[in-house]
């Protein structure tokens, strides 16, 4: 008889394994109230924060762009437009709009994507609950270059673009997010803490 086959093992060894597994199957009791409160607090908080930040962005951004910020934005826009006819990979690494206004300590990051035939492009990521309706990109006048500015909390984030509401695309200009939890391709972005700079 094979000695150590998983199923056909020596009887004594198998008994002890089954006893061990039975012991390990005993339920574990967690402090439910405390644990659930921690989870739900975390679950509910970021959604509100992003929403508030977007509202705040809508209110404030028109009054606080410095001349240098405007120049930087114009340069970036020119790069994006001129890059529209170039390889997609060269155009769109998300950039921290350092000179653009910052809201509540959250740096504003500009995301861009070239999709000349798309009718819509949306940004999805861990910062907006992966909601394809939350952060649409706007097309430029020519229609092929899409961009959006978003306040992003400092830290590492993963994100992707959703084209025409259904096709999930990583950012070709950003590092891929390896080893994440999901099957779809993602991109990685690390936003520095402005307070640490």
């Amino acid at each position: 008889m094979p000695r150590s086959d998983e199923i056909d093992a020596a009887q004594g060894g198998e008994d002890v394994l089954e006893q061990a597994a039975e012991e390990l199957r005993r339920p574990l009791r967690v402090d439910a109230a405390l644990f659930d409160a921690r989870v739900m607090d975390e679950v509910l908080r970021p959604r509100h924060r992003v929403r508030d930040a977007v509202r705040s962005l809508a209110r404030k951004r028109s009054v606080s762009v410095s001349p240098i910020g405007a120049l930087a934005a114009a340069c970036l826009f020119a790069v994006v437009v001129s890059g529209a006819v170039m390889a997609i990979e060269r155009v769109h690494a998300p950039e921290l709009a350092r000179r653009a206004p910052q809201l509540a300590g959250e740096p504003i990051v500009r995301f861009g994507f070239v999709a000349p035939r798309a009718s819509s492009v949306a940004l999805v990521g861990d910062f907006n609950d992966w909601d394809p309706k939350a952060t649409p990109l706007r097309a430029n006048a020519a229609g092929g270059v899409w961009s959006v500015d978003v306040p992003i909390r400092p830290g590492r984030h993963i994100y992707a673009f959703v084209v025409d509401g259904k096709t999930w695309r990583p950012d070709p200009a950003a590092p891929p997010a390896y080893g994440e939890d999901f099957g779809e391709p993602n991109s990685a972005l690390t936003v520095a803490d402005p307070g640490a700079q």
Partner: protein
């Protein structure tokens, strides 16, 4: 009748975030056990589980089979445990200490069982992380190999090998007291 996982996921996605608490309640204890056995430390286990729940919530739109929310969550948790476990060597930690298990498990278990629990915990801690994960998913969580493959990303034959090796080693440690470190 309790709502199904799929119904709860749909409710959350429609905007009722509070409904997520029911999913947390449904999977908390079972997956806390898995995390504790993977990480050997209650605090790390609860952190990993909390992280998994929060990540799952934020990615809920990407749960393509909401009726299998539990498996999807377990895949996220297993990933979190791998990440957390990789940060520090498991052997540097306490593993499912008698104290933890006393607090964790019903108090009416006889105290003389604590040595046995500790022995199991030590044996488990000496397995490679991959083997420990495979052993727990198969023999504690009771999953089929196909489910394990979907959760871990490993192939079925590789998983069978991990389980076999884990079983061999666990059996040896628990019967012969062999506590030589793996690998």
């Amino acid at each position: 009748m309790e709502p199904s996982d799929a119904a709860l996921v749909a409710t959350v996605l429609k905007g009722d975030s509070e409904a997520y608490a029911q999913l947390v309640d449904r999977y908390r204890d079972r997956y806390a056990r898995f995390a504790l056995q993977m990480l050997g430390n209650r605090e790390d286990a609860e952190d990993a589980l909390q992280d998994a729940f929060v990540r799952a919530y934020r990615s809920l739109r990407r749960c393509s089979e909401p009726e299998r929310f539990g498996s999807w969550l377990l895949a996220i948790l297993a990933n979190r445990c791998r990440t957390a476990g990789g940060r520090r060597t498991l052997r540097e930690r306490r593993f499912v200490s008698a104290e933890d298990r006393h607090h964790a498990i019903a108090l009416d278990h006889p105290s003389d069982a604590s040595a046995w629990r500790e022995e199991i915990g030590k044996a488990l801690s000496r397995l490679d992380a991959d083997q420990r994960e495979a052993f727990l998913l198969k023999h504690v969580e009771g999953l089929e190999y196909e489910e394990m493959a979907a959760i871990t990303g490993a192939g079925v034959s590789a998983l069978k090998m991990r389980v076999k090796r884990a079983c061999d080693r666990m059996r040896r440690m628990l019967t012969e007291g062999d506590d030589a470190p793996v690998g």
